[in-house]
Every structure is written in C-alpha cells, then in structure tokens.
Subunit: 224 residues, 2 copies
C-alpha cells in the first residue's frame, strides 16, 4: 500500500469539490491513496481565531442551529459525512462526492434534503446511517481531530493536499476532470511545485487574470 495523501476539504467550497474529484480519479485507478479530512472555512476565517496560534473558536463547540448559513450547513455536512464513513471507505467517498455534486454541480442547498439524497446515492444503509448520526458527541469528537490537525498544519483554504512527506499546500484550480491522464498531469504538477528546489511558497494569479475568466467559462460548459 502506498503511503496516503490527505485531502482537507469543506463541503461549502467549490474548489474543494474539484480537488476531491481529482483525488477520486487517482485512487480509483489505484495510482494514489487519499484520506478524506475535514477543514472548516468558517472556523478558519472566524474573527475570534485571527492572530491566534491555535483556534479559540471551534465549529465543534457550536450548537447545530447557531451561526450563519455556512456555519450550520458545513457542520451538518461534516457530521453526516462522519456517520457515512462508518459504513466503509467506498461509502465515505461516494457520500462525499454525491453531496459535493449536489451542491456545486446541481447548485442545491447544503441541507438535510441534500444529505439524505447523497446517502441514497451512495447506497448507504439508511437505518444504520440514521442511528450513527445520533451519536452527536462521537461525531463531533472525530471532526474535532481533523480540525485540530488542520490547525496544526496551518491549513487555511480547501482543498489542501498533504503529501506523505508532509508537504502541504492549498491547490486551487478552476476546472474539473474525471479523466485519468489529465488528473495524473494535474497531480504531478502539484508535486513538482512542492518539491522544486526553488522552495516555492506561492504561485497565485494576479487578480484580474484573463486566464481565469476563460477557465470559468470552460468550467461552466463542462458542468452544464
């Protein structure tokens, strides 16, 4: 078994969706292994956490119905994904991607209806899923582990991929692929940036980047 990469994601983020799709292509081809990990953008960007060496505001400390829309929906999705993962690794990936696609390809709200539709799409045992979701305390403890590890690494956006050697970076790309050759190229390029002798810290397009506008258009066509 090859050492696993981690992919940190938040269900509210369309870039994270494309990152997890990329990972799925590579793992289904048996070329890479990836572990799904949760990172909360609401927690990462929370004003109470600004300038702190570790978070003081945790998503896992918040009641389910508190906070604004992204806070509520991301907590709901993370806990549901934790319950789905109890049914096995393939079920975990299928649930995660079904939920991502509902929200970012089909533009549905990230809510209880979307969670249940993803559970059915992933062919979960729905009775078991419902029972596992009752363990709010256990699911929050598990989510907390991911959030704490992400904070330790300094994750700030999603998707962030962590390589077996510990290199970790936010990898934001505009386009979606489900083709192996393409996925392989995009993943290889990511590794080359992180392993370059230049010690690359950041490559980030200028804000009025014409290439990005073109890519957005292409994405809209691909996912139409």
């Amino acid at each position: 078994m090859t050492p696993s990469n981690d992919v940190f994601f938040d269900f509210v983020c369309p870039y994270a969706w494309r990152g997890v799709e990329l990972a799925q292509v590579l793992r289904q081809a048996g070329e890479q292994t990836f572990t799904l990990r949760h990172f909360s953008l609401v927690q990462g960007n929370h004003p109470d956490n600004a300038g702190q060496s570790e978070p003081v505001w945790w998503l896992t400390d918040q009641p389910a119905e508190s906070g604004e829309r992204f806070q509520q929906s991301s907590l709901l999705a993370f806990l549901a994904a934790g319950a789905a993962a109890k049914q096995g690794e393939e079920q975990s990936w299928d649930f995660t991607l079904a939920l991502f696609r509902a929200v970012h390809a089909e533009k549905k709200p990230l809510d209880e209806d979307a969670v249940m539709a993803a559970a059915r799409a992933a062919k979960l045992d729905l009775e078991q899923f419902s029972a596992d979701r009752q363990d709010d305390e256990g699911l929050r403890a598990s989510l907390r582990q991911d959030l704490a590890e992400a904070a330790g690494i300094g994750v700030f956006g999603t998707p962030t991929f962590v390589l077996p050697g510990g290199e970790a970076a936010y990898y934001r790309f505009e386009n979606l692929t489900r083709e192996l050759d393409t996925a392989r190229q995009w993943w290889k390029l990511y590794g080359e940036v992180l392993h370059s002798g230049a010690g690359i810290a950041t490559v980030k397009r200028a804000k009025n980047r014409p290439a990005k506008k073109a890519a957005h258009k292409e994405l809209a066509q691909q996912t139409a």
Copy 2:
C-alpha cells in the same frame, strides 16, 4: 527577438530580489527577455486603496520625505532606478540588481548611500545620473505608468511575472539561483502552472509548512 516577459517588483521585497536574479540569469543566457517594471507594495497594501477598483492613493503623489520607512525608501529607489534606466538596458539591470543585493544579501538600509553605491557598482555615468535624478516630475510620470499598469493587471505582490500571452502571477520562492539549468527549470515550472489545463489559480503552502523552514535554512546558507 522573442516577446518580452514583464517582471513587476518592489525593492523592499526579498522575493522580488530572487525573481529578478532568476530573470537576469535567463536573459543573460539569451533564453528569455524581461522588462523591469515597478510595483509598490506600500501602495498596493494602503488602506485607502482597499476595496477600490482602482487606486486612490498613489505612491507617486507623495512627497519624498512623507510616510513610513518603506514608503520613503521604495519611492527613492524607484525614482533612482528610473534615472539609471536612462543610461541603457544593461545599466538598468546592473543598477537594479546591485541595489537589491545591497539590501537583501548585505542587509544594508535602502537609502541614498545604497543608491549611490549601486550607481557606482553599475558603472553609471554619475554626473548624468545626478542630472537625470533632478527630473522628479518626469521620473514620477514614468513610475506612475508602471503602477497604473500593475493596478490594471491586478498585481498584488512581487515578483509578479507577466508572460507575453498575458498570464500573470505572483511567484514567491525562497531560494536563490544563478545557475542556468536551475533557473530554466524554475521558470519552466512557472509556465507549466500558468498554462495547465487545470486553470490553476493558486498553489500556496500551508502556513506551518515544514518544507519552507528547510528552504529558509538553505537560503541562509547560500547567501551567507
């Protein structure tokens, strides 16, 4: 003549220094052409410009002695570099790199002494240099053109390289090279990221990135 790349830089930025060194290696080998362009980090980060579609606060509108240290020293350096450039392209590069090295390799203050030392290192005609520096209005108008173009592109950090096709990105790396093979690889990787079908917007290491710490150490050894 191959179409020219632009490199936007600010003298106060150590990453910009390494970027201009990289460009110099490639242009001296005749593999790429680069045009030196000025971008002001003080202007780019000025609170009055936050959220504005175009800058309202311009470095070129400020008296020489106003503002904090970076503001004063960057304006001084930009205007002096504009005067140096009047003596020719090689003189412009030699002056720019001599000033960068004084500040970021030798850790000298970016001030009038450093400017004059760079003028001597670049073998400028010092009388002419002094005369050209008197044209404050003309030098500011020329600087303003660079700053306005950078704002139009959405430059936010330095170095930002603009390729002949218009792709533009901040390229931050920790290490210094003056070797052609290495420079060629680092430049090729930058182009691959910008031209990838993924539509890469950002690759940015996580904040507590262990790879960066290692790179910093290596840099310190190289420039020691």
